[in-house]
Symmetry: C2
Subunit: 190 residues, 2 copies
DNA sequence: TCAAAACGTTGACATACATCAACATTTTTC
DNA sequence: GAAAAATGTTGATGTATGTCAACGTTTTGA
């Protein structure tokens, strides 16, 4: 149950067996269904999730009422609605398992207690923040000045898993284009 | 010379007089001219900057060769090309003082030494990361689904300083619209 | 202080892409 | 396993905004 998590932790910093056990003791397993909402819009986010199996999507609605996907997290990664998790304000996004998934959740208090008490865990948190920042920046700024075709090519190159694992509609909403446009671009690429 | 910086630090965490002095001792003052480049594209970023006076812009060029402004930092704030600063890869952006400015710079090694040795300073760094992440997310995702008019209204509401302090061209490139479009939208708002 | 450069504004025009709709296909659910 | 719902595809059409150009104004730097 904790194999993937301990492997992840070990790859990022060095922990003793006891420490790993202590960390794992704070996580509970959750099984979710397809399209299950983990966090609703304007909920305050209380949990950090580690994905044992499945896929979690972060998404929201734009001003004109369209879905906008922000992030897809797959097996072996942490995910949460970070802004809300950090400052405990109502989230401006949803967390959803788009396929039936197996997650490990840790409560915010426990998470921050680990950050406070285990320097190696604090280091992992810093890395998550740094990496999250970098990835978000690259993704978003990388798209600036790209037309639909270039966006699709970019995503095929940098996140090939995405177009395979995720519906056209969701992928399109991640790329910031209409599903019809994505469909046409894909046709052009064959 | 360090008044603004110590005020900033004190507002974020508690330091002893000695600690503040130690921290300040790592900063050197720089005076820059209008449009001076602090960090070129593909340079590796070695410094964190604190702005005593002036304004620093983070910008890059899009695939189609247009300038794209990512961030404007004003007096009393830290700024750097974070992705490059963190992982020491060539920056995919420029750092520039758009008006003549007075900065305090700290070298990366010194910065991380402070993070390592002073828990209060580490806390500030974590906060910078968290806040940077949140601000970047809100800004960028906030614009999704906005047309030009809505973007301009948003910026007037949330960063009123920006349209005043910054040229039309730069503001437009921050909003992801053409200068001509910004001009037209502003005319419409009067 | 003045010439030169940069910038802002406005109009005419072009175009990528959204939207809508109709139909085909796949997936879900009971 | 059949009916229903969701999704993907393709065509026709509209529109917001980019681009280009011309001109007036402001800023700059020697």
């Amino acid at each position: 149950m904790f194999a993937t998590l301990t492997k992840f932790l070990d790859s990022k910093a060095s922990f003793s067996k006891d420490q790993l056990e202590e960390i794992c003791s704070f996580f509970s397993q959750i099984k979710t269904k397809r399209n299950q909402i983990l966090l609703g819009f304007e909920d305050v986010c209380k949990y950090y999730y580690f994905i044992n199996k499945g896929c979690v999507r972060l998404y929201t609605f734009t001003a004109d009422g369209n879905e906008s996907s922000r992030y897809f997290a797959f097996e072996g990664n942490f995910v949460t609605a970070l802004p809300s998790f950090i400052d405990q304000q109502p989230a401006e996004e949803f967390l959803q398992t788009i396929i039936s998934s197996e997650l490990l959740s840790i409560r915010r208090e426990d998470f921050y207690r680990l950050v406070k008490t285990l320097p190696a865990f604090a280091k992992i948190y810093t890395e998550i923040l740094e990496l999250g920042f970098i990835v978000a920046q690259k993704r978003i700024y990388g798209f600036q000045g790209f037309d639909a075709l270039e966006k699709v090519k970019w995503i095929i190159k940098h996140q090939p898993k995405l177009l395979i694992s995720v519906s056209n509609r969701m992928a399109a909403s991640y790329l910031g284009i209409a599903p019809a446009t994505l469909s046409r671009v894909k046709a052009k690429l064959n």
